[in-house]
């Protein structure tokens, strides 16, 4: 086994996802710490440009590009990734704690008998080894874990756990041929795109989230406008989703998605523990609520105590101004 660090690059519409660049940036630190190489792994169909793009972050980019990888499947992608890992024998594989990550890496961990640490939010490279930071119980407790040294280590991180560094000189791209094996037990029938949401909720830098205080589905257009303006996403509390004002896809919290944007603005939501557990690792938290005693203020950095229907139009105008200034 080498001491190399591999990053599995996820693409969306053939473009590398931002979180993959975050992983390459932190992967650089891990590789320097162990005096080893940093590799990007790009798998898909028509992803040569993506490989070009990430090659500025890695020493070497391993590319597997063929038509049978057009649609993701754990069977096809898994057989290819397994082939790559068995050939190069890295010490670390870093990936996203995304729907794809949760589908693909557990099976890979079994095949390679790897140490698997999932849904981490940070790491520490002091001393000999590596320490991985993983929240438990919805963030009530932070655990620090270390892999035992004798096997490969797979770590998945939540998006927005690390900053994206600058690309450097482009490293070589090595194209590999591995056959994508399909599992005969699963036959795809159809695929339906949900919504036209440009930004993935878990990857968004900016989230504005509405709660029951939004009062009706149509009022969410106010939040959508601000989200679009900021290049971010609208989220929702469970109450909102249960009232069918928004889709489950937007739900933030314990039984929805865990998010960690740079800026989170909660509007008309009380800050129930189940909700907080899905957003309390956000960079800066803002709460807008008319009730000064709403629990959300205990978790927020900034608060406005007022009627959200009066605040939001003004907030939109102010944000627009700052966008125009820059």
């Amino acid at each position: 086994m080498t001491r190399d660090v591999f990053v599995f690059v996820e693409c969306k519409d053939s473009v590398p996802r931002k979180a993959s660049l975050e992983l390459l940036s932190v992967g650089r630190q891990v590789a320097s710490h162990f005096s080893s190489g940093l590799f990007a792994v790009v798998v898909g169909s028509g992803v040569k440009d993506a490989a070009q793009m990430v090659s500025g972050y890695a020493d070497t980019t391993v590319l597997v590009d063929n038509e049978s990888l057009a649609d993701y499947g754990w069977d096809t992608y898994g057989s290819v990734l397994e082939g790559v890992l068995k050939k190069y024998e890295p010490m670390f594989l870093l990936g996203m704690s995304s729907m794809t990550g949760k589908d693909l890496f557990p099976r890979i961990a079994v095949r390679l008998q790897a140490a698997m640490i999932s849904d981490a939010v940070g790491l520490d490279l002091e001393g000999e080894g590596i320490k991985i930071k993983k929240p438990l119980f919805g963030g009530k407790v932070i655990s620090w874990l270390a892999p035992k040294a004798d096997s490969m280590v797979i770590v998945t991180f939540r998006p927005n756990s690390f900053a994206v560094g600058n690309a450097g000189e482009k490293g070589p791209i090595v194209e590999e041929q591995f056959t994508a094996e399909t599992n005969p037990g699963i036959k795809p029938i159809s695929f339906e795109k949900t919504g036209s949401k440009k930004v993935d909720l878990q990857e968004a830098d900016f989230i504005i989230c509405g709660g029951r205080g939004m009062k009706a589905a149509e009022h969410f257009s106010m939040l959508d406008e601000i989200a679009d303006l900021m290049g971010g996403r609208t989220g929702a509390s469970r109450t909102v989703v249960d009232s069918k004002w928004r889709e489950y896809d937007d739900q933030i919290g314990k039984s929805g998605k865990t998010v960690s944007p740079k800026l989170y603005i909660g509007c008309g939501l009380s800050g129930a523990l189940h909700h907080i557990m899905g957003m309390d690792t956000s960079g800066v938290i803002v709460a807008i609520n008319k009730d000064p005693n709403a629990p959300i203020f205990q978790y927020a950095d900034y608060g406005i105590v007022d009627d959200l229907f009066a605040v939001l139009p003004a907030l939109k105008d102010e944000l627009k101004k700052t966008r125009e200034d820059t």
Binding site: A114, A115, I186
Partner: protein
């Protein structure tokens, strides 16, 4: 048809958790519930039984004996049998070990369909389902939101994937993990509760189960827990004052720009 459901008992959101002074252990208040996502798995198994003939539902957890109560809840809902694999002496922080044990149980019992939750609410690893499937060399589908099991060994499955929803035909045996939206878990009827109270729940020793997938000895865990700590606390909230909502909005944006530097 044999349907196996794996459930985990997890600490309730409200449960108090205390970190020991050496930061090596957690003490969890005795408030436990069935993992939120696992309730959908139990419910779905019961619906399959209601729509097809000759379905047997077996529920299993790898946990300390107190989790017998969680298993009773599933019997009250309508499951047929329940097993507790005693985790004392085999507790492990490595998902591979937990998955080996559960996969071993699946081999021993036999199955056509295995249902798990999307992820456990406490550790949130979302590993166990696909890992069991890999050990058993069967296909899996994650985050299932619709399921139609036919009598002829196939199922039509809708699930959430990146960017949308996918429908597939799955050949059984297979493993599915359940997502919110799949169904509305029922509240047990009093007759169900009475039946559950009388049901004998078998407790198994993991060492007595033949596990052909590698060691379950905790010494073979590939993960070391170094320490636990409380999350860093945020400084207390700074309330933006102003004479009008407009002024407050202006003040907020200024603070976000100049102080927090996030705009």
């Amino acid at each position: 048809m044999k349907v196996l459901v794996f459930i985990k008992e997890v600490a309730d959101t409200e449960a108090r958790i205390i970190i020991s002074s050496d930061q090596k252990d957690l003490e969890i208040e005795n408030k436990y519930t069935v993992n939120f996502f696992d309730e959908f798995a139990v419910e779905e198994a019961i619906r399959i039984k209601e729509s097809l003939k000759d379905v047997e539902i077996t529920v299993c957890t790898f946990a300390p004996p107190r989790a017998v109560e969680a298993l009773r809840t599933t019997i009250a809902m309508g499951a047929d049998r329940a097993f507790l694999i005693d985790s004392r002496n085999h507790e492990s922080d490595d998902p591979l070990i937990v998955s080996r044990i559960l996969a071993g149980f699946a081999v021993k019992e036999g199955f056509d369909l295995i249902l798990c939750g999307r992820q456990a609410m406490d550790d949130e690893s979302a590993n166990v389902g696909p890992m069991i499937a890999e050990f058993l060399k069967i296909p899996h589908v994650n985050q299932v939101t619709r399921l139609q099991v036919s009598g002829n060994g196939t199922a039509e499955v809708q699930n959430e994937i990146e960017g949308g929803k996918k429908v597939s035909e799955v050949l059984l045996p297979a493993l599915l993990t359940t997502q919110k939206g799949l169904n509305e878990p029922r509240v047990p009827l009093i007759t169900g509760v009475m039946k559950a109270m009388k049901t004998e729940i078998a407790v198994l020793d993991p060492a007595a189960i033949e596990i052909p997938f590698g060691s379950i000895d905790r010494e073979t865990s590939k993960i070391l827990v170094l320490s636990y700590e409380l999350p860093a606390k945020r400084p207390s909230v700074s309330i933006i004052e102003g004479a009008s909502p407009e002024e407050k909005a202006t003040g907020l944006v200024r603070a976000l720009k100049e102080e927090a530097k996030v705009l």
